[in-house]
Amino acid sequence: MHGRVKVKSTAQQEEEKRKEREKKLKIYIAARDGCFTKRKEGVFDDEALQLTQQLLSSNPDFATLWNYRREILMHLETVKEVDEVQKIYEAELLFLESCLKVNPKSYGSWHHRSWVSARLPRPDWARELSLCDRCLSLDDRNFHCWDYRRMVVKMFNVPVDQELKFTDRLIGSNFSNYSSWHYRSTLLPLLHTTASELPPMQAESPKSNRVCEEQLLKEYELVQNAFFTDPNDQSAWFYYRWLLGRELEEMISCLHVSREEEQVAVVFSRPVNVQSGCLLLVLDGQPHAVEWKSIHPRFKHSPVWICNLPPGTISEISNEHNLTVHWTEKHSRKDCTLFTGHAESWCQDSATDQELFRSELSVEKNSVLQSELQSVQQLQELEPLNKWCLLTLILLMRALDPLSYEKEMLAHFQTLKEVDSMRSAYYSDLCSKFMIENTILKMEYAEVRVFSVSDKNLSTLCHLDQLVLVTHINLSCNQLLCLPPQFAMLRCLEVLEADNNSIGNLEGLYHLPKLEAVILKDNKIATLADLEPLTSCPRLKRLDLRGNPVTQLANVESELAKLLPSVLDLLL
């Protein structure tokens, strides 16, 4: 039609583009080969700098070229004046900025930048910091830039509160950015330490790396604004859990000594790897060189470690013995006296006193937790099906009073499993954990060594390190699939009732010195091999295997008699 502008067809454009690309490729390959030759010949001249610059500005991810460039620059450092070197490196920084524009996530460019910044005779850290600001405003999740920023902050000694304000700004523009929240969590403890340096008494307090309460209340407000605005955003919830959390002190929480087995068991507050020499046993004032073993060969790290004393050391019942264990690394110790006529003795910190099961939740004052609970309950009324909210609610309830909130906790778990069915197994395990914690607390209140959690829908066993002293355990009518290796921590166990589960694995019944009776009625034990671990329990006399597939095997009775000769009372 008349008057129309004629435009190239797509095919024509494609063809032109292809030709353009071919031309570029030729130039690129020629330059690359040129660089490689020069490097081989050990040439460190300006031309090489130019060539690598050309190549890197179109492909900043070429690590070999960055290396060559560094070699050239290091060579130039030796032959040029400081002012000239400064100029060369400043030009390098400018060039790097153009590379970062091509690919803001190029490993090579960022690495080279920190290398250059560190070598610059007179670095301009303020400029580097503003570069980070700019990059992070374009992409607040660029982890290269976060790393670089941390380096700049360290070199430039940027005050903590200034960095905290920076995170305020980033969170203000996008609170779904976990990088900013996380950075905040690394800054807050620092902020407090610097403040507490003035009164030296406080600095010595064991909780000095905690965030001070005033700041903490501000943080609660900030993070609540985030999860009320968008309760489906997990970054705020994670940060909230960090705020509510606390670090467990590392120490020895229990020491148990058994006269008959001449065995000592040490329980730590968290799994440790006891290296030779770091755990010192002193018996009646005399240090003893002993070999410490974890409770199961599967564990390099374990909360429970045992050692056998040389035969005859404490076996005489009429003797009294004083035992001390030092954990030299953490300056923790435990003493215990084995009195005359006693077969065993122990010294244990109670879980209740330590508030061990306030899960990860904090040591904050009850009033603070109570008001947090109210806020989250308010949100839960508005968003009854929000999983983050429900989960946090459960944690807060547990932090406040695990026993009296038990019923509500179970109801919330039920809702959680329904609204987030993809993770229902996770919730079952978590709920099991909490039910076990509650049972331990109840057991402590009752001052007994009997642990009973029957019919509580347990799907997993945990906190077994807290059950070292238990003699009777009742796990019947749950959904357990196995007795895990950790079960070997129950050093004093005599009777195990675990009927009506789905147990097919007895790995944890390993070298339990006192175990006499095992009730495994109606479980999933299928083969004789599954029963193999029981052979390590010297005192086993009674075994109930009714309702297990293994009873259907031919010659099972005689096979079992061969396998477990000590068992006198066998029910099949």
């Binding site: 039609m1 008349h2 008057g3 129309r4 502008v5 004629k6 435009v7 190239k8 454009q13 203000g172 523009s173 996008n174 609170f175 779904s176 609540q224 604004n225 985030a226 009320f228 605005t229 968008d230 309760p231 806020s375 308010q378 949100l379 508005l382 968003e383």
Partner: protein, 619 residues
Amino acid sequence: MCFYSKREYLIVIFDHISVVAAACSRVGQRVLHLDRRSYYAANWASFTFNGLLSWIQQQQVSETQDWCDLLEEGEELIQLSSQSSIRNLQVFTYTSKEDEVEEASADSVNTTEEEQHGPGETRCAVGSERLSQEVSRTHHSLQHMEIPAEGFCSLNISPIFQSQATITEGAEPEAEQPQSPAIPSQSEPSRKKISFAQLEKEGRRFNIDLVSKLMYSRGSLVELLIKSNVSRYAEFKKVSRILTYRNGEVEQVPCTRADVFASRQLSVVEKRKLMRFLTSCIEEKDDQSAYNGRPYLEFLRDQKLGENLQHFLLYSIAMVTEDTPTEVGLASTRNFLRCLGRYGNTPFLFPLYGLGEIPQCFCRMCAVFGGIYCLRHSLRCLLLDTATNRCKAVIDSRGQRISCSHVLLEENYVHERKNVATPPRFLSRAVLITDSSLHGSDSEQEVSMVTIPPITEGAPAVKMVELSSSTMTCMSGTYLVHLNCSSVSSAYQDLSPLITTMFSTPESHDQGRPSVLWCLYFNMEDGSAMEVEGHDLPSNVYVCSGPDGELGHEHAITQAELIFHKILPEEDFCPPAPNPEDILYDGGSAPSSGPEEEPSLQLEVEGLDSDWNTVFLFF
């Protein structure tokens, strides 16, 4: 005879209808674009400060002549009026004339539709009978006025201005400046103010729009700019925040996740309720349709959101009034939400250098594809072929006949031909230059949309846009504030009470608020009320209305597309313009078509008629 009159034009377009012009030109139509003004885009235009001052003076009318001698056999004439759609101009200067502090610095210059009467001209405040049918001829300024010729609106003083109208003799600095009795003299010279002289000196820093609009970031204008590649001719600034006026205070409206999170005025529960409401109303639901026909306010009340949120949602997000039906309110809310986050934290964009840039961009597109522009070139009448009832040609203000196949006119030209005389609706506009922002923040460069619910019963809801100098529409240190609402009475009556309460003027005496340095009020005819049909016009003459009162550009763009498809039913509306490197030229040197053809035309012009300095070609 000028060069263009010899040619046969496919389309002749008058005044501001630049989008249609660009669209037609783009698909190869020969477009002639005449404008009686000395600037582009009519009521869509932007002016420098000084430009606006002369525009205020130029609001004038001209006479009708008889063009029958240009008729050919079987033709008849349709006279075109050229009545202005601007009324009730009033100007107030609240800053000193000169840099030094004068004692009586408040000037009031009320200017309305000036008549030029030679040297020693008289300015007079004139209302329109369109606005008020009551006629008062007692005002002494009338003695200087002619009753206009037939076909023009007669000018009358409306009673509205009896109290406000002041006659000042001459605008020249040396002329005496009588003090307005209505305005008390200003007595606080302590605050260092920008003087009027400075405003004039820095006048070119201003780009003051006659319309007050924003661009919805997913609105049809933005989509059209992108689709057609016209966007390459302009740059835009994000509107950075939404404010509202409530209980005598200016507050920021939280409308994005980040805003809600950071808001200090909302409780956490309100935050949740707001977010939940906004998320839920994106989708249409059954429980919403139950409210169809009932007021949106009722729907909001039933959501139990509380007073705060109700205000934000009704006035600032939906931008509707209390009696707007629910379905309209929800649609408006959805539109707002749809536009959020595409470019920034509000749904709006604003073009750098003002809204007047947009029609100019389309003019440029039109010119690039061969359209011809003539400014200061009015149109007198249409020539009609009586046999076919089609317009064959037009006669311009210089008495030349231009043949054409389609004619596109602004509604004002044919206003008198309307079959049913519906009274026109008006918009009340005010333009303020102030010295600080209504709502302080860390940045001095905020661009704010301010929603103001009716301050009293029956008063209009006002939309205000506050532009900082970063938009290139005002000098640094000042803010340009546009107010816009549907007229209830004159612009001054509609808007001055609000301005007095929100800003510091000599009337208000409150120094805590931004001071108004200069202020202009006027009424403009509301384009959405104009009828583009029913003018009893030839089938190839199309009518297009002026700017409407809505915040967005939907009305204008929809209309442009509609007209384009009437003219060229088979063609694509504004297909993407090709990149220059993709254009093919025959034989390498001479371009086959397009803009490069026109330079030869210019030569032709020079050879034929050296008088033609008004021909503007855009390359």
